[in-house]
């Protein structure tokens, strides 16, 4: 009976505001910016697209086709170091002038070749009405088309996916290190991951009423989702 009550209540609260673990926010869009870069800014969905293949140990090198830039090289180093793969995987930047299929056919075996195009990048700033617009969320949201090929000799694989990746920074008043509440990103292992949360600071803001206290989990389910992005 109690479960049913809870279920009905949850159904009636589907449109509840998003919440972090301690505070409840009512995010309002303040401003946004849309760009169409020709390079990847957030390569999280690329790593996620290959996660399953990498996990089964069949890939040890990933060739990422992109316009060669210093930023791209740095990203590849970061992907190699922090790719989050159990087995070591080397990410190599290849000029986008090359053909994806040609490289896949040439390299074969334990490699994967990946390219991303049709990039769309949105930068949006939201303010929390529950904190009288003193708490803010800055979201960097990227969508792109990803094509990946793994030319395994027996079970070759290819996939085209619509990659979505975002990184969200929540801060109080100013985006300076001591005012940062949390940092989260998607997708990391296909989930939203909290990279950083300043719990003592959040608790003090909740205690002093600067942030609206989130009622118990049974009243307001926690949501790690970002607010809807503007079109």
């Amino acid at each position: 009976m109690r479960k049913l009550l809870l279920l009905i209540w949850l159904a009636s609260c589907l449109q509840s505001a998003s919440a972090c673990s301690l505070a409840i926010h009512d995010w309002q869009l303040r401003c946004s910016l849309r760009l169409s870069p020709d390079i990847t800014i957030l390569p999280l969905s690329e790593a996620s697209a290959l996660h399953e293949r990498v996990a089964d140990g069949s890939i040890n090198t990933v060739y990422r086709l992109e316009k060669p830039t210093f930023y791209g090289v740095v990203l590849n180093i970061l992907l190699t170091i922090f790719g989050g793969h159990d087995s070591p995987v080397t990410w190599v930047l290849v000029s986008s002038g090359h053909n994806l299929v040609d490289i896949a056919a040439r390299e074969g075996g334990s490699t994967a070749v990946l390219s991303a195009d049709r990039h769309s990048l949105k930068l949006a700033l939201f303010s929390d009405r529950n904190s009288r617009n003193r708490c803010h969320q800055l979201v960097l949201y990227e969508t792109k088309r990803i094509r990946a090929i793994h030319p395994h000799p027996e079970r070759p694989w290819a996939e085209e996916t619509a990659g979505t990746a975002w990184i969200s920074l929540v801060f109080f008043e100013y985006p300076v290190p001591e005012s940062i509440l949390s940092l989260s990103a998607f997708p990391i292992h296909e989930k939203i991951e909290d990279l950083y949360a300043n719990l003592p600071f959040i608790k003090s803001l909740v205690r002093t009423g600067m942030l609206k206290r989130r009622p118990g989990a049974e009243f307001t389910p926690e949501s790690k989702e970002i607010p809807p992005m503007p079109e």
């Binding site: 049913l4 009550l5 009636s12 299929v101 079970r155 070759p156 290819a158």
Partner: protein, 223 residues
Amino acid sequence: MRTVSFFLHASLIFYILCAGTVAAQEYRRIDIERLLREHPLMKKFDPEVARFIKTPDERKDVSLIRTERTEIEKRLAQAEAAKSAIVKSNLLSRPGSKELEEAWSRIRKMDSEIAGLKSTLERLSKFLEAGGIPTLKVLMDDVRWMLSDILSRQPHGETTILLNVFPRFSAPCPAFPESGLSDFLHSKDVGMLRTYASYSCYTGILFPSCSEPILFRKGENER
């Protein structure tokens, strides 16, 4: 007991569906229990298992689910092999740009099919783990549809509030965490009342549009 529970659930959903119209001009009294009993879908209700037979809500034989799962696994393996063949013959053979786009289009279609099969496989695996009993959501969907159907047949204006006659069986008080309504009613303890009041949001779910106390005739609800 299962029947009692079912009708109580159905009554609760009725309150959700008929959540109040403040500016109502007219009140109309209906007996949701009687209307439910007369509904054609109720002929399929099996009180033993509290599920509707010959609907998606019906309890399934575990061996049938296993057979279906094996079949899906086989189809999934075939689809993945077919996709590998497309990659090998149409993509890695370095085709021209037109053929290349066609190959990607075929891969997208195969991925869509594979995703559908994986989703079915996951559903069947969960179904199997639950011993062939569909989730409560499936039951709720059936009940919700039945109640919507019943209510749509009731002649009433847009501002009419439909008042349901409470089910005519003794339903247990909702159990609340830590301390509940039944505890309070039996002990008449002030501290208990405070705790109960702190859970008023739960009772609000039961009566979302009710601002008046509910009065019962003496003896009517005594147990």
